[in-house]
Symmetry: C2
Subunit: 334 residues, 2 copies
DNA sequence: GCGCTCTACTAGCGCGCTCTAGTGCGAGTA
DNA sequence: TACTCGCACTAGAGCGCGCTAGTAGAGCGC
């Protein structure tokens, strides 16, 4: 920067003004400074800038690797952040890299706000985060914590899916839940409520699971093993999310079960996955772009007005019927 | 930091020493400082740290959203970087966010080295980057640029896949290429070479495509349209990558084509996708973890010894046979 | 000529840390 | 006693910027 100032024959302060696009420099000088900078390959050092002005205008996004819905969200976060003049830093949680680690990295890089995609950390930790920095949780409700919250109305989504299945004639509908995964508790609750509402209380069955393919595969195998012991297969499976649904599909189809003839499968998320599978997955769509925009806006607005209380946005999901659902098999005492 | 120093009754310098885990402080003092820091929620500010020591010890990773193989790589990058004492920053390219933009963001955040996952930017740009910062390209060869390069031996992978298909009896094997995508040129070349080697030169057919599901779907539709006009379907498709293979599968299976009975499909990458599909995808495995480790090591070693010239690592891929391949249909004049 | 305002520009402090060159002190050695 | 040595610790400069307070000079009215 000093080099640029010298070569352009001005002070460092002027160079700073030019690079911040602030008033206080003549057009002529501006051009000269920019030209010189270009020549010697100068680019403002964001670490120093950030240190000097105290604000980083950077949003930190934590996501989980392989969670395809998260990449959908990320794609929506960038443009909205840019529109509002904020930078985005990504940090991934993965096997061997805990959410806490991923979040610490973001904080260490001076992110002013955190956008957590489907965090699974415990509420106390999230609340502590919320005290320290503006925090937005996407897809996971954190009851008494100081965090904004963006999600889709799980209950509506599940209800639509269940109504649709029941209307097709299904009765033996099982739900694979998502364990501690974001939204799981509400989906589970809504499943139970829907079963009861349709007079299917005795058929209620929640199989513990996770939001991973592996979990779906295991559940699929479990169901197959039961069948081999003479128990009937369910006629429909409501999975915790799309990945889990994929796993179920994989286990069942490989074992010769025909979907949707013998069994229907419904996912959740409408992640990228669901419409690129050979047989499109019937699923509940959450509008990733809209959710991303809300998350970014919540973060930014609260940064710019610290008085603001954390808010909650609930978006309406929509059932998307594709190829993995149909009427139950004739013989099923469904 | 000053607060911590005051409260612990030491100088700021000592606090610095403690947090850097450097010799020069007694065990007792260390504990006291750390305890105080914990109490008042102090965390070293990486912007300032970075500014002060001139080195950021941060690796910038650019990846493309939805490119599932990239998330496999990312998962491998983190532990290796941590082992070597480096931090990792992620930046995604996506629709509406060019690679250049993603890379600038990393540079702006003072990454010392860039690890580019399957970059598609033009070689001149990459070379310019290479001059400015240590740069490693993964999966994409950049001939005369000053960048390290990690990839798998495309020719070997393709050859294995082709030999396997031919051995099964396939002759009408088409290749959907990956356009400007990483590795595409070499895969295309190897496909042609393999066909010639097996005496199938007249059957050579390369359909232009991309590394996306959409491209696979379009190609699938193209093939179906040809069939409807009386032309024979190929008996096997070698896709540019797994995502493209998924797209082909989807288009064909939906149209009633049975895989692998009527047609075999081979992917490339062994990304997360390929083993979680209902019918596992036969594909060519690239060892993501190994590639990630090489990439990180190249970057770090070159950072620590600027004399070092850019290097190239070629890893052996391996054909993984799953459910989408089998002998060609009987009737096929294959 | 004076005072005023407005624009273009500069001096220099401070952001929170690292790092070099020290200081002070007790133990070991001649 | 005088000295060196090593250890625990400190003072203070400096990293590359942003920002506040200020100056110099032009233009204007009286």
């Amino acid at each position: 920067m000093a080099d640029v100032a010298d070569r352009a024959g001005v002070s460092r302060a002027l160079v700073s003004i030019v690079f911040r696009n602030q008033p206080g420099a003549s057009q002529e000088t501006r051009e000269r400074v920019l030209r010189v900078a270009e020549e010697i390959g100068y680019r403002p050092d964001s670490a120093a800038r950030l240190l000097a002005r105290g604000r980083s205008r950077t949003l930190g996004v934590m996501f989980t690797v392989h969670q395809t819905f998260h990449t959908d969200l990320i794609e929506g976060i960038y443009p909205e952040a840019e529109r509002l003049g904020y930078d985005v830093l990504l940090s991934a949680a993965a096997e061997g890299r805990s959410e806490a680690k991923a979040i610490e990295a973001l904080l260490g890089h001076r992110c002013e706000a955190l956008i957590l995609l489907g965090p699974e950390a415990d509420p106390a930790y999230l609340d502590a985060l919320g005290q320290r920095a503006v925090t937005v949780s996407v897809s996971r409700r954190v009851p008494r914590a100081r965090v904004d919250f963006v999600h889709s109305a799980e209950s509506k989504g599940v209800r639509q899916a269940m109504d649709y299945l029941v209307e097709l004639g299904h009765r033996r509908i099982v739900h694979i839940d998502g364990g501690r995964g974001p939204g799981s508790a509400e989906r589970r609750r809504s499943y139970r409520a829907a079963m009861r509402r349709h007079g299917l209380e005795p058929e209620i069955r929640v199989i513990p699971g996770e939001h991973t393919e592996q979990s779906g595969i295991e559940t699929g195998r479990l169901l197959l093993a039961e069948r081999d012991r003479g128990l009937p297969l369910p006629t429909a499976v409501l999975a915790g999310n799309d990945r889990c649904a994929m796993g179920v599909l994989m286990a069942l189809v490989r074992a010769g079960v025909e979907v949707p003839r013998d069994l229907s499968v419904v996912g959740y998320d409408d992640s990228h996955l669901s419409h690129v599978m050979p047989i499109g997955l019937t699923t509940v769509r959450q509008d990733a772009v809209l959710m991303a925009e809300h998350a970014v806006r919540f973060a930014v607005e609260r940064l710019e007005d610290p008085q603001l209380q954390p808010r909650e946005a609930v978006l309406d999901p929509k059932l998307v019927v594709r190829g993995t659902t149909g009427p139950p098999p004739q013989g099923a005492a469904g």
